[in-house]
Subunit: 133 residues, 2 copies
DNA sequence: TTATCATATTAGAATAATTCCTGTCAAACC
DNA sequence: GGTTTGACAGGAATTATTCTAATATGATAA
């Protein structure tokens, strides 16, 4: 069970394992609070500090990415493959878009930057929100 | 001077005019704090509430757009034309990219959303930050 | 112009998300 | 066994933003 997390090279405490298994394969793009609430069920003494510390460690090792898509809070994505997002403007639901759009910046637009990547966000209203009015 | 702002149909108070003229043509993508500090010089009693209220009014009328690009705070852009951004991962400097990338979502990726738009962000390290190590 | 009224302003309190700090504990290392 | 290192919990501190309630002011019409 914890074999798959060995390679992370972080100390695998029970709290961290709970966070990791909650994140594993999770496509809901949870916020720190979502993670806290989920793990709280198994560890009633869990604190936000532990959630943030663990996320910080995982971020630094490139095992989760922080999404700046939601203007109210940070969201976290355990899927670190190159992908984009579709976001509902009403309920903030986020859906992964796995497609390569081949967008390049020409030399005159690059402003001397060392480019490291890009991301595309699509905005709209999801099916559920359309119905509820 | 204030003629150009008449069409906004918001009450044009001195504070608002100061905010509007600070934003006019501003390409720095300022945060609420940047705006507050700038206007404070002319209006020492300026409050954050006024900055946020005015931004809210302008947002609702589609005269500024809120950028969710910076994970620490919202940034505001008076340029409401369709454009994208190039962001420095070190200093958070934001540069406009005026180019149409023609990105479309195929039916199978659209998940029943009513699409309203998209935005592309390019990430990298700017020239200045490269030099300073 | 002036009176009226709806709206804007202000300071400060409240809230929400996140970060920091401190004492404690446990694992890993000698 | 003793020491170092890193993680934990809990709470305080910070930062961005929103709310509140009293007061002030721009816009409009008389």
């Amino acid at each position: 069970m914890m074999e798959k997390y060995r390679e992370l090279h972080i100390k695998l405490t029970p709290q961290r394992l709970a966070i990791l298994s909650f994140l594993d394969g999770n496509k809901s793009h949870p916020s720190a609070e979502d993670i806290y609430k989920a793990v709280l069920k198994q560890f009633p003494t869990m604190s936000f500090a532990t959630v943030y510390n663990t996320l910080e460690a995982l971020k630094n090792r490139g095992n989760v990415q922080e999404l700046k898509i939601d203007s109210h809070k940070k969201r976290y994505d355990p899927d670190i493959s190159r992908h984009h997002h579709l976001i509902c403007l009403k309920c903030s639901k986020i859906i992964d878009i796995h497609k390569d759009f081949k967008i390049a910046l020409s030399e005159d637009l690059i402003h001397g930057f060392d480019l490291m990547g890009n991301s595309v966000e699509f905005y709209g209203i999801c099916q559920k929100c359309k119905k509820h009015h």
